[in-house]
């Protein structure tokens, strides 16, 4: 591809083969491009961007008692009220708790499994398959599995107080634990792949320099797998923000609303919250998702070591 300079001296990327192409050909290429994008853009338009606008609309309107009347405009004060309400703060607190219980524990366990299974031993593939196996479990299946463990009537651990679904703190921990278990396979697979990408010579050189196993792990391995760990942390945070099935199956939001996360309040399975409130809470969740993405972006651009 020859570099073409525009009037201001900036190089312009020349599309492949365009040197031999007529202007007419370029127009048909562009049209083909739009045509190829159209299906995906229609779906995104209708089910990602339009709903965002609709959420804003819903959050500043009030649905009439009778469905044949149009919604009435209430102003952005109503959205502000929703986002400063106890509903929002308690939902946020519970989501944060869920995160706190599930993300660090999930990361540590994933690293533990991956470090244990990252070695040349006969039959290691069997262990790797076992550690990856929870990937085959959906959230709903994981919820039923944990039902057999922590359900207050029939769960195997029903008498273990720190897993009890009858107490607010332990209930949240139990529910989060089902997420930790379900995500274990994913965490393991990603950390193992990262470990396998660490060049062995580095560890050998460090050993010759008298580094012990622990120092090698924290000084060499951890920095080198940090991009994968960060990626996982983000994935787990988002998965915590989106946790729903575990809560519905295990606690139904209880005890006394202690496991009602933000999404649980938005989904509102009992149908007790008005539309404008659920829409407002959805916008809150959207903002949180945005913050997580920003953190991801800014962290990715510094602090984290990149092998290349």
């Amino acid at each position: 591809m020859t570099e073409v300079l525009a009037d201001d001296g900036e190089p312009i990327a020349v599309p492949l083969g365009s040197r031999t192409r007529s202007p007419a050909r370029r127009v048909t290429d562009a049209l083909l491009g739009y045509l190829f994008l159209l299906p995906a853009l229609v779906v995104f338009g209708l089910f990602a961007f339009f709903p965002l606008g609709r959420l804003v609309f819903d959050s500043v309107h009030r649905q009439p008692r009778f469905l044949n009347r149009p919604p009435t405009y209430q102003g952005f004060g109503q959205l502000k009220d929703t986002l400063t309400s106890d509903q929002f703060t308690s939902g946020l607190t519970h989501s944060a708790q869920f995160m706190l219980y599930s993300v660090p524990l999930g990361l540590v366990l994933g690293v533990l499994l991956a470090v244990a299974a990252h070695r040349r031993l006969r039959g290691i593939k069997v262990f790797q398959a076992i550690f990856s196996s929870t990937v085959a479990s959906s959230v709903a299946v994981a919820s039923v599995i944990f039902f057999t463990l922590v359900n207050p009537q029939v769960g195997y651990f029903k008498d273990v107080s720190w897993l009890s679904l009858d107490q607010p703190q332990s209930a949240m921990f139990s529910v989060a634990l089902s997420s930790v278990w379900q995500n274990l396979g994913l965490t393991f697979i990603i950390v193992l792949a990262a470990l396998q990408a660490v060049p062995e010579e580095l560890n050998e050189a460090a050993t010759l320099d008298g580094f012990g196993a622990v120092r090698r792990f924290f000084r060499i391995t951890v920095p080198l797998i940090s991009p994968a760990l960060l990626f996982l942390a983000i994935v787990l945070v988002i998965s915590a923000l989106q946790a729903y099935a575990q809560i519905e199956v295990l606690t139904g939001g209880g005890p006394a609303g202690a496991t009602e996360t933000l999404l649980f309040k938005i989904a509102d399975p009992k149908g007790i919250r008005p539309l404008h409130e659920r829409a407002g809470l959805s916008l809150g969740l959207f903002a949180l998702t945005g913050v997580v993405a920003l953190v991801q972006y800014s962290l990715l651009s510094r602090r984290v070591h990149y092998g290349d």
Binding site: P15, L121, I189
Partner: protein, 297 residues
């Protein structure tokens, strides 16, 4: 196996531990230690699954009466058949398969086409449109749930296959992943194809797609996994039990009578089976798909 352990010099080659080898005796002990750790961890990871299987084959009342032991009680296998006859698991499994199939095929088509446009075609606002696609990652179904439910209700798609699948017919992840694959195709190949008079469609289906088959394969498997496991959307886009996907049907366990619980447990086992098969058959694709975003960041 047994013959490997006792070789002529009495050593075992069963334990080639990574890194330097500090003598045979020590490495053999180290290996034994690691096997112990790995076995222990396996037991912890598999224990919840074991409990599910155990409860699915035990008579629920007898099991509770026995004091909830670690072994099955009054084994009976009817729960697996009852799940189909009494809990109509067959219908919800079939529905899940259909919805999953629709989503996977649609995502594949829309992603391949969009990825091709971004990788090989030039048009105004290309960067803006790519940013628009990536921006949809900020708008997962959990955020848009409330408004999408209104839309789907408005157009009368509640309790239908189109209603269950329509928000997921395109995937930003798919577009991004397949575009990366397309960008990896050597320029020479593109130029040669142009010289041979290949149009875009022919290049796409004869060269680009076959060359990126591993990536596309990974995406298909990951897409299947995601679609099969959907919970929040099908939970609220259906108001009738007969339109519940298998994942949503599993939630009934929370309201079941104790003497019926084994049916729900068996249903969970059956619901997980397709993914177990998938995992065994396509382990490589799954690992590649899941790590796609991770190692490069």
């Amino acid at each position: 196996m047994a013959t490997d352990v006792t070789t002529l010099d009495g050593s075992s080659d069963a334990a080639p531990v990574a890194g330097p080898r500090p003598g045979r005796a020590r490495s053999r002990w180290a290996a034994a230690g690691w096997y112990l750790v790995l076995t222990l961890l396996s037991v912890i990871v598999l224990f919840p699954v074991y409990m599910l299987l155990l409860r699915a084959i035990s008579d629920p009342l007898a099991y509770v009466a026995e004091g909830q032991p670690l072994h099955p009680v009054a084994v009976e296998w009817d729960a697996f058949t009852n799940a189909f006859t009494e809990a109509s698991l067959g219908r919800s499994m079939a529905l899940s398969f259909v919805v999953t199939l629709v989503i996977v095929v649609a995502q594949l088509l829309t992603s391949v086409l969009a990825a091709y446009a971004f990788a090989f075609l030039e048009f105004p606002f290309k960067r803006v449109l790519f940013a628009v696609v990536i921006a949809t990652l900020l708008l997962p179904i959990e955020v848009t749930l409330v408004a999408n439910l209104q839309t789907v209700r408005d157009i009368g798609l509640l309790n239908s296959v189109p209603g269950l699948s329509v928000p997921f017919l395109a995937s930003a992840f798919g577009i991004f992943l397949i575009r990366q694959g397309f960008l990896g195709i050597p320029r020479d190949l593109r130029d040669a194809a142009t010289l041979d008079g290949y149009g875009h469609l022919r290049f796409l289906f004869r060269v680009a797609v076959p060359l990126t088959r591993p990536i596309i394969g990974s995406f298909v498997v990951i897409s299947f996994l995601g679609a099969w496991n959907q919970y929040v959307w099908p939970r609220f886009a259906t108001t009738e039990d007969s339109w519940q996907t298998v994942q949503v049907a599993l939630r009934s366990i929370a309201n079941d009578r104790v003497d019926q619980l084994n049916i729900g447990f068996a249903a969970a086992v059956i619901a997980a089976l397709p993914l177990v098969v998938l995992l065994i058959l396509f382990q490589r694709q799954i690992v590649r798909g899941l790590t796609a975003g991770a190692v490069k960041g």
